[in-house]
Symmetry: none
Subunit: 231 residues, 4 copies
């Protein structure tokens, strides 16, 4: 009789993988499932896990509450599916970053620009992560899939830093993980906290100019942090 059994997700078919079945029915099912997932992403991103209601989601997906349980099992399992999909997309985007090993400065700048603009263009990414951190990672730790999406970006960044070090441009001892976190922190925090920061600083942070200024500052700070000492 327990209502919310915190079990692993029980989705009936993969969300974003290639369709395994053919035919109109399967396609319709895929469509329903996808619509629910997209609607849930929006609703959870906007209102958080507790604040977003199942009804809101099913309506936005032009489906029924029942179908959420049919395909995902519970509100929580749906949220986990949303997180997984979010990570998958981020990972996919990251892995498309094409960097030249010959130009470490440009490559490092490209990494920073990528992260900054990914966060900026995908605000749900930020709010969903905040929501999940509010719950102390309770949901993502239940995901079997999450670990698959561990950042490839750190490896990419590692190669950039190494090639820069080989050319005498960067210090050799800086850790790729630390630099990655530094970039993420500076991009994420600015965008995530812009509303309270605006109130706190009494200054608009959401303008194009303010954002361009910050992006430049981040690039500058990172460059100075990894730069080799001049002699």
């Amino acid at each position: 009789m327990a209502r919310t059994a915190l079990v692993a997700p029980q989705r009936k078919s993969a969300t974003a993988s290639a369709p395994r079945r053919t035919g109109a029915r399967a396609a319709a099912a895929q469509a329903t499932q996808g619509a629910i997932l997209r609607a849930a992403t929006k609703v959870f991103a906007k209102h958080g896990f507790a604040g977003g209601s199942v009804e809101q989601i099913s309506k936005a997906a032009k489906s029924y509450d029942r179908m959420i349980y049919y395909y995902f099992g519970s509100k929580e399992a749906l949220f986990i599916a949303v997180l997984e999909e979010m990570y998958r997309r981020f990972n996919e985007a990251e892995s498309k970053l094409a960097l030249s090993a010959d130009e470490p400065l440009e490559s490092l700048t490209a990494v920073i620009r990528f992260m900054w603009s990914y966060y900026e263009k995908n605000p749900e990414f930020i709010t969903l992560l905040n929501t999940e951190n509010l719950h102390r990672g309770r949901h993502i730790s239940k995901s079997l899939r999450a670990r698959e999406y561990s950042s490839t970006a750190i490896e990419i960044l590692g190669r950039v830093l190494a090639s820069g070090a080989a050319k005498g441009l960067f210090r050799s001892e800086t850790s790729a993980r630390d630099v990655y976190l530094m970039i993420a922190a500076m991009a994420y925090f600015y965008l995530s906290n812009r509303y309270t920061l605006s109130a706190f600083l009494g200054e608009e942070l959401d303008t194009a100019a303010a954002k361009a200024h910050w992006e430049a500052f981040v690039i500058d700070a990172v460059m100075r942090t990894v730069a080799a000492a001049r002699d």
Copy 2:
């Protein structure tokens, strides 16, 4: 959240101001009010605004639902009071930072250490801010008091940077606001996102060693960012 009437706060007496009435009853009232505010801070910090219930709060405060409405008017107004109190305390702590203008390096380090440790020791500060940012600052913009608590730390930091510049230690063109945000970003992000980052990186971020490493890295990065060019 649809049920929350978005009315202006109507608290009967200031939370942190001096008691205007005297006598046992007034003291009891103050105690109840304070207990509710403390309980609300905990509950909202743990479950978010939508996720925390009025009953949870009143029980934790060993009081009654009714009292929340009596003293604060609505759930939302209580949340605003929590945010205000949170800012007030942060501001108070910041203003106690005693810095020597003669030692810019040490002073800058002290600022970083202060922010890092304030965030670390006050995790509700982070989750409450995240919750409020989820709501796009809707509540704090209703507060008349919030602006009063605008960071004094930026001024303090400005003086430190200026004295460092005067001594030739720091570049003169770096903006105090940018440096302040950089410090906040690096400290806040690490602590706020540690749960998802742990899953993402496959690495524990919550250990004393990991945190000490990050603090050192932040100090180093900030120093390199503001440092004057050697010649």
Copy 3:
């Protein structure tokens, strides 16, 4: 977030004990609580635990769903309260049986008549017990109070049998418990199963004549079972 926490009942005040508070409010509260309990008894008796809905109960009690949770905590806890009250009333009725030790035959007959007529006049007693046995006694075993109501009738019956044995009317070795169960079985089964028995036997069991016949048969069977051997 778990919906049905199977905890012990958490009623706010005793249901059937003397009112501990005075005043109109307390009386109204008692009335609401009593109305819910009576309505629940009827609904559960008619439709079983799963078949009876909270809404049905609250409507029958002219109250609100919410009040059931306010006073009883959950549907299950309400059911437990119903069972307790049912036992309490049965026990109370049993304890009022006034029997003369001088006339064992009449006293034994009176016990049988009492049980037969109690079951007949309190059909919810039977259906509630059946419902609870369907659940393998899951609810009653959670009750702290149930054990208090253990049959006083067996003791009463024991005294009757002993006095009969002393007079040479009854065998001395028959166990009061066995005789009690025999009486209960014959009365209970006939009434409980009359609907399927009617279909099975192709005969109406619900008429006054049929019931009088059965009552007489029960008395006769019990008497023959406990009777001392004639010599």
Copy 4:
């Protein structure tokens, strides 16, 4: 239960009758139908009519909800089919009782032993009957088949009592129906109500020793009830 349309059963083929079609498909259909019926018996026996869900049944039968409607028409019609099958099996078992007219005492004992052990080994028989009696025989009265299964046991018992009377062992005036009900009552009640009785008596009724004791007591009580007066 409000959702249950009370329509007449519309099963497509008899459950237990000979297959009317031949071939693999018909066999598969029979298998599915049988699996559903067995699963439904278990589920309804465990949770009652309202408490057992169609999904539970179809899952337990490793089939689909849809098949229940295909073969049985509705949840209620399925329940009726379960009751019919239950009666059919009981009747079948009863009719296999081989009794010798020469030994009335042994035969009567055998009847009692049969009923006691049938009830004991078929607990669903008891809970299904209780469930149906909760509904006041609503379903079984809709069955066209139920009357076919009216007890043959009463006839058998009648012959045993008559032969016993002829031999001067039993009284001649006892009705077979009454004795049958007495046996059924004592066996059924003990097993059906053992959970609440255990709580009520503060004594375990489910042990082998306790059950053997009760069986012996039933035999003794019945014997004393039907026994002819000694002279």
